[in-house]
């Protein structure tokens, strides 16, 4: 593995609906899985993620937190979580 790849800094921001908000897409997927005959699926929630590569580690988490709460998610309906890849 080359050094450049090793040094890549990528963070993943996960976004999902807050509890209690009906997601009709996840409901439809669940109904389809039910119709496929699987009996043990209790609940499905759907989310999305963004992989964000950064060029410097200065203020990274602070900036990512701001970007996530200010744009990538809407705090009224969504939660976000940031992890380092």
């Amino acid at each position: 593995m080359n050094l450049r790849k090793l040094l890549k800094m990528i963070y993943r921001v996960y976004i999902n609906f807050k509890k209690g908000i009906l997601d009709p897409e996840a409901e439809a997927i669940k109904r389809t899985i039910d119709s496929m005959g699987y009996k043990t699926i209790k609940n499905i929630s759907k989310g999305k993620f963004f992989d964000i590569e950064i060029s410097s580690s200065k203020n990274t988490l602070g900036d990512l937190e701001k970007i996530s709460s200010d744009l990538l998610s809407n705090p009224i309906i969504e939660n976000f979580k940031i992890i380092k890849k």
Partner: protein, 229 residues
Amino acid sequence: MPKKVVSIVVFPGSNCDRDLDIAVQKYMNVNTELVWHDDPNIKNQEMIFIPGGFSFGDYLRSGALATKSPAMKEVIRLSKKGVPIIGICNGFQILTECKLLDGALIDNYKRLFICKENFVKIENKNTLFTKNIHKNVVQFPIAHAQGRFYTSEDNLKRLEDNNQIVFKYSSRDGKIKKSENPNGSMNNIAGIINKNKNILGLMPHPERAVNFSEDNDGISFFIGLQNFL
């Protein structure tokens, strides 16, 4: 006396801006200026409209990317000075994403794009936006896929207590029933106002209810807005 001028902000994907332009000029007796989204200056500040359609493909969430455009930054600044602002459909979504209005507008309950006429009850006539509409129930077209109004229970109570809910989906005779709720909005909400009463957002399209006869309800909506000017 020269006519006053109101502004209509246009985004890549807006598609109700021309309809709005025609309705506003004809029934508010003003001139209009269309402001492109990357213009940081809004010269004409009598009233600002954020039209329906789409903005930036509605990527991420409806209206989310539009909130960061230079024109919207100016709209946010002017809103604090009391400039009257009306967001229709995507414009309502943009105003909630900017946090100028409470709540969020998310996928319709049945995840369908809904395009039909709906009756809408005017819940609060004590606003400058609605006080001159002579009917209590109006008929406006709706056309959206993300129109389900959602907010926290606390915020919902605050909106109700402050009389900030201006429009609710209803029956022809003004009954607020679940069966008249097209998209699953909380409490049948179709439009709200901010606490300072200068910003209105609504999902229905009054600008599409002005063409067919003199008693189309969009006409009294726009004539009524002359209060502000």
